[in-house]
Amino acid sequence: MDFLQQQDALALLSGDEAVALAAFEAGVKLGTGYPGTPSTEILETFEKLGGRAQWSPNEKVALEVGVGVAFAGARALVTMKHVGLNVAADPLFTVAYTRLDGALIIVSADDPGMASSQNEQDNRRYALAAGVPMLEPADSQEAYEFTLRAIEISERWQLPVLLRMTTRVCHSKTIVRRGTVAIPPPHAPHFEHDFPSRVMIPAYAKPAHRRLRQRLAEIAAWNDEAENVETRDGQTGNGAAENGQAGLNQLVSGSKSLGIITSGVAFQHVREVAPEASVLKLGLTYPLPLEIMRKFASSVERCVVIEEGDPYLVEGARTAGIEVEGKPESFRFGELNTARVRRILEGDTTPEPKPAPGKPPALCPGCPHRSVYAVLKELDCIVAGDIGCYSLGVLPPFEAMDTLVCMGAAIGVGLGLRHSLPPEEAKRVVSVLGDSTFVHSGITGLVEMVYNPPPSGHVLVILDNGTTAMTGMQEHPGTGRTLSHAQTGKVIFEDLARSVGVRNVHVIDPTQEPEKFQKLIQECLDLPELSVVIARRDCLLATRAIREYERCHEQPAN
């Protein structure tokens, strides 16, 4: 990569690239994850730098693999978008009880404002709920440094660490100075039996929970220590890029009349809008440095918390009896920017100007999904949909998707509709999801369909375009290629469907044979049985690359 070839210590990097660079420099043994905006580029960059990175079928598996890496004493990086952590929440809550020998860094890339997501959940809540230390970088320099500090914290307290980023940190490019944080080299991987630390049966989990709370109390005390608060001159402030090593928490000295507590990218807006204010910028935001916050709040006449999303810092402060001013509820929605931060500080709750509506995205001309939606609309289907490019089927001219909840939900929701609707409506229900989504969370839905079939049967259409198109053409287990496009084991959807007991399994190219496709769907709808239709045609944007990968496999380099 360009920025590694540069001898110069400075590079203009996105937050995602900065995390990858730090992970590579720290000798992370394995990076795992599932593609999801705005996190995808972390593993892609890590792999390009020379690190070993893998796409997992979903975030739960990715985290579990990472747990194994850390149990072996090595360093693991696990990346996902915010909603991915819901999928990975099961291992998250219990791995927090265990004792790691290596490091486990979980990146949650949140999407306030929902630039490309189905919700804007604030995953800082997960750190609190699971009892996992959390760092929140505010720019690429901090993304780089906090990744290294997270590894250090993870190994020191033998706990997983959540690196919570947001879209504007992940995708903004800012200047990074390398080599600003030194951490110890990774341990040599090895295994020693330690049943009470890693086998969470109740007898071992009960003391393990107490041990976790003890460690969190230690980290809270450590977070309150002076070494973790870097004081900066208000005139120069935010000197990360020029000075290197930002403290985990920063205190920007300024006016006594206005103090602002903030974290993440909101800090940047605050510094621009209120350069005169005293600012306490928190980097290690779970457990919170409550004594530092208390001292800061009492040192200023007015103390305002500026944070994107949920009132996480506000609630943390108030629970500890620290009096702070929060933001009006209307600023809980969407991203913050300088204009909104100014409004919060001025108490201005008048209606905000609405941004001019842009041109909405649409399915590409010639996209194979178009052929499918044209038929589903024509046949007046009730479509339980899912997450991917094909979510655009809800927009005109198709308007042929009726539900979208989460990855894989198409199948379960479709079955629920079939179970409940009157027969004439039930038989029009179709579940539609993409190839990568099917592998992510659709396989268990397929099993449910076989196990609890509705009386009217059901029709599942897998839109197999040979790639994870929405997030930028990533591989998945159904493509038979690894993250770096090398050949590997391949999950064959039609074989899988037959093996779990679906008798009517069809593979068809919906673009090449539109009439046959329509006839097939009609037949499946009329049949009170279970059908799986795999609509297979490569994504137009990926066709060339796929052909190239296949050519490379056929002619291995000598």
Binding site: D2, L12, T37, P38, A115, S116, D139, T167, R168, H171, S172, K173, T174, I175, Q235, N238, A241, V265, Q268, H269, R271, E272, P275, N337, T338, A339, P353, P355, A356, P357, G358, K359, P360, P361, A362, L363, C364, C389, L392, M470, T471, G472
Partner: protein, 183 residues
């Protein structure tokens, strides 16, 4: 307090090279030693929808997003996106639009993003060599020549005209861009 950064918003439709154009501009500013921040939203916008990217550079940049109504330059690659992004432009800001390019003279229609960077380059005090170097770094080699040509078309001078025209362009700079920062 340090001086205000220069704010550029680049807008268009998915697939038009909005993000490539902003990457090239950010690279030029970074190479010139400025603090730089560049920000945009990826994702759904890639499917032919509206895309915009913010580039800010100066002595010190805080927020990665250009505040509404504070863009010094609004560079729009698709004419129908001018209205959508109009609110970004400051009162004294400058619109750079496809109408300023003789599209029939473009060596390749796809390189209009770079031609518009050529127009922008007239108002920013980065040497032409810095732009050419950034184009080299950000584009595959087979596209270099086409994009150099497009850049010069927008800039309104060829590589051989530099000596003779540098005086003129400096005057234009001063007239049009009192706020452009000195490198």
């Amino acid at each position: 307090m340090s001086s205000q950064p220069t704010n550029v918003v680049i807008a268009g439709l998915g697939g038009q090279g909005v993000l490539k154009a902003s990457a090239i501009l950010a690279d030029v500013a970074f190479s010139a030693g400025w603090d730089v921040k560049k920000s945009e939203l990826h994702g759904m916008s890639q499917r032919g929808g509206s895309v915009s990217s913010d580039v800010r550079f100066g002595e010190r940049v805080f927020s990665p997003m250009v505040p509404p109504g504070k863009a010094d330059f609004l560079l729009v690659i698709a004419s129908d996106q001018i209205a959508v992004n109009w609110a970004a432009l400051g009162r004294d800001g400058l619109l750079i639009a496809p109408s300023q390019i003789d599209e029939s003279a473009l060596p390749n229609q796809k390189s209009i993003n770079v031609a518009l960077l050529g127009v922008l380059s007239r108002y920013l005090r980065f040497p032409v060599e810095a732009w050419i170097a950034a184009l080299r770094r950000n584009l595959p080699e087979k596209l270099h020549e086409v994009n150099f040509q497009s850049f010069y078309l927008g800039r309104g001078e060829g590589p051989d005209d530099q000596q003779t025209s540098s005086q003129d362009s400096e005057e234009t700079d001063q007239q049009a861009m009192g706020r452009a920062i000195e490198p």
